[in-house]
Amino acid sequence: MSTISEAEVQKVAHLARLAIPEDQTTAYVSKISSIIDLVAQMSAVNTEGVEPMAHPLDSVQRLREDVATETNHREAYQAVAPEVEDGLYLVPKVLE
């Protein structure tokens, strides 16, 4: 019995924006299940009262003055884009 179902794999694939073909769903079910089973080992540990660790040094996010520090690099950054026009990124029509 797999830990994750075919329907769940397709749902997660949608959330992850991955077009997994129907005929490969089964393969994903078995590989993802084996990884989920591996990580499930940690559920046996008692973590009551343990503070979650988000940062190895328990540092907090550094703040800075709210001023512009970056200069405009639009042309350089858009030079590597698949499709641009007049400084805008092009995608297929969103509204009919």
């Binding site: 694939a13 992850a16 997994i20 591996l38 990580v39 988000a54 540092s59 690099h73 350089a76 590597v80």
Partner: protein
């Protein structure tokens, strides 16, 4: 000086040879470019070789050195970068088809540092796609082979860089380590490498995999070479919000300190079932060498370390699924043909651009973060992660450093674990605990198993104790020549 003689020099000797006029930066650069051309066909350690650019850089640096404008320890020293460091105007693939056309518009912090120090960039090293892998079989640019046995993997994910050092196709490279990606390939290839404390080096311009774990570090023949490199790349950079604002010592200043009185801890969990007996024997012999040098040895316990792999395979994929959402086919990277709408563009571009292991981890991470599962997976993993860190905090009350294997086995055969992700994940069983704790870890070669393949010692220090760790490895290297050995067909 002959090319063979130049390729046997340490970074300090390279610097001294160049600055005393024995040979030029151009000769040093050509030495490595010629070796790459002649030998890399057997290994595939480079995705991009920058012959013309490196020669232009070498010529310019030769002039600057002659005029006395560049004098630093890395001035004129050739090096290579793992292909996940952004390099302005140079292809940066991260081992992925997704970025097969990505010419980075800017330099990573460490690339800038090495450039300013007068280093000569030879090229970009092969790697597991997006740094996900322990064998370098997950590269869209082909597998990398281990110079000690070309039927074996070099480890991963910084496998290209590790193999390049072992075959003397670069005197120094930068890799990155998220769960062992400097230490495990370093061990498999018989070289020295250090993953510093999380935050020691800026991650700016390092293509992100798991942001609470990723750290860059040098890989080279010796601890001394790593120390010289760390001097140039460590330190605060405001462009990385998690970069530590801690003083940077001169990592070479304490290399010659004695290890007399050093207290070494051996975690009993690292010597239990799962460790190859031949590897264990080599480790034990090296520990005895340290005792001869005046260190004391004591057993310590890291009782939660068996949970490190499970925790890591929640934390790392979860963070990766978020980080890799930027590859959407819109702003950079691969875009599918004829998308029928925006959703189709996202989904097919990502499906086509990412390789199998990357997609698996994005799926696992997305699942772990999805509604209804967050508490059971990501939050739980963060809690167990603290328990793993606490084990180290407790151990460091009793000992100065921890030693153990970098990897449970010597290098395995290409293809051996390719169809079993979970078996592959266990290759990092000894390096992942250190990564989760954010502690510095290094590997240095301590001999060979009966199969003729190298074994690495993992050395784990307390936070920001890189200088002490490099000192300890250097003292070992003054008393051994394992790090000097070169695989026969690359000698």
């Amino acid at each position: 000086m002959s090319q063979d003689a130049i390729s046997a020099l340490s970074l300090k000797e390279l610097h001294d040879g160049i600055h005393s006029g024995q040979f030029s930066v151009m000769e040093a650069t050509d030495t490595y470019l010629d070796r790459i051309e002649r030998l890399d066909g057997k290994l595939n350690t480079y995705i991009t070789v920058l012959r013309e650019q490196a020669q232009q850089q070498a010529q310019a640096i030769d002039q600057q050195i002659r005029k006395g404008e560049l004098t630093g320890p890395l001035a004129g020293v050739p090096y290579a970068l793992k292909d996940l460091f952004c390099t302005e105007g140079i292809l940066t693939t991260c081992g992925s088809k997704m970025l097969s056309n990505f010419i980075s518009p800017y330099d990573a912090h460490v690339a800038t540092q090495l450039k300013q120090a007068g280093g000569v960039l030879l090229g970009k090293n092969n790697m597991d796609e997006f740094a996900m892998g322990s064998s370098n079989e997950n590269s869209a640019y082909g597998v990398v082979r281990n110079p000690w046995n070309t039927n074996c993997v070099p480890g991963g994910s910084s496998g290209g860089g590790a193999a390049a050092i072992a075959a003397r196709l670069a005197p120094m490279v930068l890799g990155t380590d998220t769960g062992g990606s400097i230490r495990q390939p370093g061990s498999f290839c018989g070289i020295t490498g250090i993953k510093p404390t999380y935050g020691r080096i800026s991650r700016y311009g390092m293509i992100a995999f798991a942001s609470s774990l990723d750290q860059c570090g040098p890989m080279a023949v010796s601890a001394e070479d790593c120390a010289l490199t760390l001097n140039v790349i460590a330190g605060f950079d405001e462009r990385d919000s998690t970069c530590a604002n801690e003083p940077v010592p001169d990592y070479t200043a304490t290399l010659n300190d004695s290890v007399q009185g050093l207290r070494i801890g051996l975690p009993k969990e690292f010597f239990a079932t799962g460790l190859d007996s031949q590897v264990a024997a080599v480790i034990e012999r090296a520990v005895k060498e340290f005792e001869k040098l005046g260190a004391s040895v004591k057993e310590v316990s890291l009782p939660n370390s068996h949970l490190a792999v499970p925790v890591y395979y929640v934390v790392a994929p979860a963070e990766a699924s978020s980080n890799l959402s930027r590859f959407d086919g819109v702003r950079f990277g691969h875009r599918c043909e004829n998308p029928k709408d925006l959703m189709d563009l996202y989904k097919r571009s990502r499906w086509e651009g990412f390789g199998e292991e990357v997609k698996r981890r994005i799926m696992v991470g997305t699942y772990a973060l999805s509604a209804g599962y967050y508490d059971a997976y990501y939050l739980k993993a963060q809690k167990v992660r603290r328990l793993i860190k606490q084990d180290f905090v407790d151990a460091f009350k009793e000992v100065d450093v921890i030693m153990g294997p970098s990897a449970p086995t010597t290098p395995f055969k290409i293809g051996e674990k390719a169809d079993d992700p979970v078996a592959m994940y266990l290759a990092d069983i000894y390096t992942i605990p250190t990564s989760l704790a954010g502690l510095p870890g290094m590997t240095f070669p301590i001999g060979f198993a009966a199969d003729g393949l190298p074994v690495g010692m993992q050395l784990i220090g307390n936070y920001f104790q890189e200088a002490r760790m490099l000192n300890i490895a250097h003292q070992y290297q003054l008393n051994s020549d394992w790090h000097q050995q070169v695989p026969a067909q690359f000698a």
